[in-house]
Amino acid sequence: MRINDPVVIAELMKCHEVYEKALIANDTGVLDAFFWDSPHAVRFGVMENLHGADEIRAFRRGRPKINLDREIRRLDIMSFGDSAGIVNLEYMRPWNGVEQHGRQTQFWFRFEEGWKIVSAHVSLPLEQARQGSADAGYLKAASDEIGLKIAPEYYADVNGDLNRLAGVAGFLMQFPLPQDVEPAPVFHP
């Protein structure tokens, strides 16, 4: 068995490039075609655990098309024989004004119809992951209190929106508003 056969590495590099382009454009057709269409396929995202091709597809369809751009800092591709390979990369992506340093691992296998990702894992370093989980903590606790069950595949986007709101609400509440100003329950302009 040859490890890192240049021909196989070149094939995987080409697959990676096409996949990355589709990821940034959120071209779900291309992304779906690259993932193993099987209930055994797995994708662990930063906020979501997806089991099977159906869950992976559903997540992609629900994802907003903004802010998917990322800069790849380091890329390592390995191959084992002519039908197994791993693509590891580190990326930078701004999210809610904070630069995220993320990691991604994909296991690729060559089927008769071509190379497919059978398993993938995306994560953030511990400090950022803690921050994310603390946010999800508020989301879970607050939504429980009002009897709203939010599906985990929406956590990342809802947290993003909550973080944006928190950012601007902080700016709003720095304003030295006189204590005696009341809200206008019925508002006459």
């Binding site: 903004i66 709203l148 069950k149 809802v158 709101l165 700016f171 509440m173 100003v181 809200p183």
Partner: protein, 470 residues
């Protein structure tokens, strides 16, 4: 539109019908034809009500032949954003969740008022889901395309309403505006739009988004059309809890009285973003025509915008809480996470934002001691591309969806009336300028709009659609 109807506007059509030069039924058929041949590629309509339109038009014709008064809007065809109740069909509010809602039992107040004045309803118009967006890129009902460039958005959330007027399908439509949803599409589609004073036009029968900030209002192609329609729409309605009891103050009689004595200034600072080149040029052209060089600074505008955002998120989210509990998966991916996040907004933020609103209203009252009309851009740029996700504001690339309303949000926040006037220049897409007034001073804004229109600085020409569409 028939030659008998002049420029095909509200005034021209109703005059031609009342004079007997053309029948209301002929005008209705012509509008239905135009919709059939042009809407395929623009996608304004979610329902075309041909039967109702013909019946209402026939009734107008019957009144005329009997010598009865058919109303000031006799036979004027119009349509409404699909968040207005229309008797007999479900009120979609841009959502598939409501596709099987029970049909509305009666027309929304604004539709009823126009019908009573003789106007003829021909359909319901596309919008961002539940009005939460500035682009009318609706995942369920498709994007509405800008008639001036089909690759671009019409603006939102009342995108179908603005595009139907810009494409010459109709001379009059109804929309709603919470943070800019009349003014943004009016700017992108190059038509006139009126967001009245908060509470001046009844919202009864309109599917609300964020009640503290919701307004309804018309789109048209001229100042005189807006004035005629506004006079029909304005006035008290005990069925809308925020509708003012203040009697109607007709604007049409004062429309041509000029602008002498009006103190007019352009908004500076926040509203004069050096990067918003075409927007600044449009404001400068309007200011020049009005012979004003005065610039006025509005206080704490950035916070006003944020406070509107917080109130919208919270009221919008909570309005949808029962539906989100049951069917969050049925929401448009473009709105879902924002509605969900809105349900979780802490009361501390919302209460502060509402109190800040009272404070900011006082500041604006003082500003209007010094001026009568404030000029500001309606949008930071002309229509963006369909699918375009970012725009540049103050030199920073920001998400388009949330930021197109940067100049409209701080104004509707305290319910000030605004007429958006369209500035067209050769080889470029149109862009709108906001004429902002003190509460209940719509008349002054319409007078300024008329003056600008007469000077040729603002206009709403029907878009030249590609030959294949005709």
């Amino acid at each position: 539109m028939s030659l008998e109807c002049g420029d095909g506007g509200v005034a021209g059509i109703s005059a031609a019908i009342r004079s007997g030069a053309v029948t209301a039924l002929e005008v209705a058929e012509e509008a239905l034809d135009r919709i059939r041949t042009t809407d395929g590629e623009i996608n304004c309509f979610t329902a075309v009500l041909a039967g109702r339109a013909r019946a209402e038009a026939a009734e107008v014709d019957r009144k005329i032949s009997n010598g009865e008064d058919p109303g000031i809007l006799a036979g004027v065809p119009f349509a409404a954003k699909n968040l207005f109740d229309i008797r007999g069909i479900p009120t979609l509010a841009g959502s598939i969740l409501r596709a099987h809602a029970p049909p509305a039992e009666r027309d929304a107040a604004a539709i009823a008022a126009l019908s009573k004045a003789g106007a003829v309803l021909v359909g319901a118009l596309n919008m961002d889901e539940f009005a939460y967006g500035f682009t009318t890129e609706n995942s369920h009902y498709g994007a509405t395309h800008n008639p001036h460039d089909l690759t671009r958005v019409a603006g939102g959330s009342s995108g179908g309403s603005a595009a139907a007027v810009a494409a010459g399908m109709l001379p009059l439509t109804l929309g709603s505006d919470t943070n800019g949803s009349i003014r943004v599409p009016a700017s992108f589609c190059g038509v006139f739009g009126l967001k009245p004073t908060y509470g001046r036009i009844s919202r009864r029968g309109a599917f609300l988004f964020a009640s503290s900030l919701d307004h309804v209002g018309p789109f048209a192609r001229s100042a005189e059309d807006l004035a005629a329609v506004y006079d029909v729409l304005q006035g008290p309605d005990p069925e809308d809890p925020v509708c003012t009891s203040r009697p109607a103050e007709p604007c049409l009689p004062l429309l041509r009285t000029g602008v002498d004595g009006l103190r007019i200034a352009a908004a500076g600072g926040f509203f004069a973003d050096p990067g918003a080149i075409q927007a600044n040029e449009a404001v400068a052209a309007v200011a020049r025509a009005l012979k004003t060089e005065q610039v006025i600074e509005l206080p704490e505008v950035a916070r006003a915008r944020v406070a509107a955002y917080v109130i919208t998120a919270s009221e919008g989210g909570l309005h949808h809480l029962p539906a989100l509990r049951a069917q969050a998966d049925k929401y448009d991916p473009n709105t879902r996470s924002r509605f969900l996040a809105g349900t979780l907004v802490p009361a501390a933020w919302v209460n502060f934002a509402q109190r800040f609103r009272s404070w900011y209203r006082e500041q604006m009252r003082e500003v209007f001691q010094q001026v009568d009309v404030i000029l500001a851009p309606a949008t930071p740029c002309p229509a963006i591309g369909i699918g375009q996700s970012t725009i540049t504001v103050n030199g920073v690339e920001v998400p388009a969806r949330a930021n197109i309303g940067v100049f409209t949000q701080p104004i509707s926040f305290v319910g000030l009336p605004v007429v958006t006037v369209p500035v067209h220049s050769p080889g470029r897409l149109p862009i709108g300028v906001q004429l902002i007034g003190a509460p209940y001073q719509e008349s002054k804004l319409l007078r300024v709009a008329w003056e600008l229109q007469t000077a040729g600085v603002v206009s709403a020409p029907i878009a030249e659609l590609a030959g294949s569409l005709r």
